[in-house]
Each structure stands twice: as structure tokens, then as C-alpha cells.
Symmetry: C2
Subunit: 205 residues, 2 copies
């Protein structure tokens, strides 16, 4: 981010990540390669190795960027002064779907099972920040047997499963707006507590 160009290229790392995102957008994981990255940045084929020890490290870096975009996409839809907690959940779901549908390659990279570096601190933090959004919007839901975690899991599973399904049956073709309508339909009724955090409560069954 700093404008200094300390060396030959002047922060190549950022350029490589940008190129990687472009490649993902253009052709998905299949067309992403270190050598193409290098070429796109106008640099020799082995240059990226100085910034990403191996493919997994590159993937982790792209995922990190992805999680930031993901978090932004969700927060962008969040009402500034939330009134109805259900509406907030629906809105964040819209941001979720926006990200998934507008960044298919990146979404697949993040959630498609590609091995990642579980010790990458930046990645873990970026992922945590995305999860924080989920925690916030689920806080008002009345806790049942599984506590707040079960609520979060339910919401996450629902919206993620939907996103995955929409991408998966893409030829069957849902645009973003139709996907959001579907999200509205499948979100089950929820009970909210006036004071999000403290109530003796339980869900049915």
C-alpha cells in the first residue's frame, strides 16, 4: 500500500495477488498458475517463489483477500441502524450471495476443499472477521439447546448451502435477485429476544 518502490518491480506481492484474482475471475482454479501469474505481472517464472513459498501459500493469500472481500460484501448490505433482526439476517445473506455469485472462482477456492495453510495468521484472522458478522446478526436469536453456536451454524449452513447450490446448478440459472428471493423463502421463522444475550430460553424439541 505504501507507494515506495524499493526494488525492481516495487511490491510485486500485491501485483501477484491482483493477477491471481483476475485469473480466478476469468477461468477459475484450473487456469490459475504461478507461471501465468508471473507473466501477468511481467516478471520471470520463478519470481513468485520469493513471495509465496508454494502453491498452497499462494492459495492461502488469495483466500485471505477473499475473506476480506467477503466480509465487506456482507457488511455492505447490513443496515446502518438495524431495526428488525430478521431483516438484518436477510440483508447479510444478500451480501453473502452477492459475493458468491460475483466471485465464483474465489468462492470455490475458499470453500471448495482446496488445502490451505492452517497456520497462516492473516488468513485465520480474515476468516474470523467474516465469522464475526455471522455472530453479530445471530446474537438476537433466542438460544436453544445448542446455544448461540447452534444458531450460527444453522444460519451459516443455510446461506452457504444455498450459495453452493445456486452456483452448482448454475445452468438451471438463478440470477442474484432470484437467489435472494429463495433465501427469503427458506429462512425459517426465528424467535428473537429483546435483550439479545440474557434469557433463560430453549427451542422446541
Amino acid at each position: 500500500m505504501t507507494a515506495k518502490k524499493p526494488h525492481h518491480h516495487g511490491n510485486l506481492r500485491a501485483a501477484l495477488i491482483a493477477a491471481g484474482l483476475e485469473l480466478l475471475q476469468a477461468g477459475g482454479l484450473e487456469t490459475l498458475s504461478m507461471r501465468k501469474l508471473a507473466a501477468k505481472a511481467g516478471v520471470s517464472h520463478a519470481a513468485p517463489a520469493h513471495h509465496f513459498a508454494n502453491l498452497t501459500a499462494l492459495h492461502s493469500a488469495l483466500m485471505t483477500e477473499g475473506y476480506k472481500m467477503f466480509t465487506d460484501s456482507m457488511r455492505a448490505e447490513m443496515p446502518l441502524e438495524p431495526r428488525d433482526p430478521r431483516e438484518t439476517i436477510l440483508a447479510v445473506g444478500r451480501g453473502y450471495l452477492n459475493f458468491a455469485l460475483n466471485n465464483e472462482g474465489l468462492f470455490n477456492l475458499m470453500f471448495g476443499g482446496t488445502p490451505r495453510d492452517h497456520n497462516d495468521k492473516g488468513l485465520n484472522q480474515a476468516a474470523d472477521e467474516a465469522y464475526d458478522v455471522l455472530r453479530e446478526i445471530c446474537a438476537p436469536i433466542v438460544k436453544g439447546e445448542g446455544g448461540s453456536q447452534a444458531n450460527e451454524l444453522m444460519i451459516w449452513a443455510l446461506i452457504h448451502g444455498l450459495a453452493r447450490l445456486v452456483l452448482h446448478t448454475k445452468l438451471g440459472s438463478l440470477d442474484t435477485e432470484q437467489a435472494f428471493d429463495t433465501w427469503r423463502l427458506i429462512l425459517p421463522p426465528l424467535e428473537f429476544s429483546a435483550y439479545p444475550s440474557d434469557i433463560t430460553n430453549f427451542l422446541a424439541k
Copy 2:
């Protein structure tokens, strides 16, 4: 499976698929290659090309096998004489989770965004048969605004999202039994109708 050995190898195709499943099980998508497949089947590196035109075709074939196993896994948990429709849904979900957790590589191949041949008839049919299970167990759910499709989407998204999440945070570590407990917790209350199959119904939108 038939014991005839009509040719040099005698049905190589099946052997290649079996080898592919083994490779997926052992090391995931990364370690799956046509040449390793050929080696594993004791055949020259270009032999597979006569059975699978390209990598995508091989993937499609493995997915097809995967969907069959997937369907079997769900049906295996289905009670023979279903009493409580909710219990049936929970049971099928258990089969779903069993498949995902015991066949991670294959599951990732099927649902991770890997390009597939959308014209592969066998694959499409195998996928449809998996979806049929879902349709069956969702049939008793009272239809709302979104019709039966919305119910199916909700159940599918929930269980799929959960499976994905469990795999994803695997180091956080849930075994199959804990995953199933979670499934029990996040399945929301559902209303069931007495006569599952015949009702005047219509899909929304």
C-alpha cells in the same frame, strides 16, 4: 464385476474408476492424475484416454460413482417403515454426513466447483436419483409460499452447509457422531401434513 476378460486388460474402465476413487481417498483432488491412474491399473500412460476423453470426463465418471455411493449412503440410514417424518429427515441427514466425512476427496470433487460435463447422461441421472431421496423425505412437509421446492432447498442447504462446514473446520474436529448431534440441533421445527403425496400444490414464482 463380470469376470470376462475380453481384451488386454479386461474392463479397464472400471479398474480406472476404482483406482481414481482410491487416489481421491488417499490424497484428494491434488493427487489425482490420469498417469497415476494408469500406473495403478498397470497400463500405459495414455491408455485412459480411450475411456475418458479428458480430465473432465474422468471427473464426471468419478462424480457419477460418487452420486451412487451418496444415494446409497442416505438410503442406508432411511428407516424401512418410516413413522415420524422428522426422524426420517434426521436419518437421511446422518447418511449425508456419513458420506461427506468418509469420502472427503470425492465429496469435494462433487461439490467443490470442479467443472463437470453437464451433458453426461449417466452423471445427470445419478445426481437426480440423489435428489429424489431429498424429495421423498421432504414430501410430508407442509408447503409454504415457496412450494415443495423451497422445503427441499431448505433441507438440502442446511445439511449440505453443515457437511461443508464440518469438513472445512476439520481441525476444529467434529467426528461423525458430533456432526449428527449438531444436525439434530440445527434442523428447525417443521410442520408435516397427514397426506404426504397428494395435494393440490403449486410452486411459487
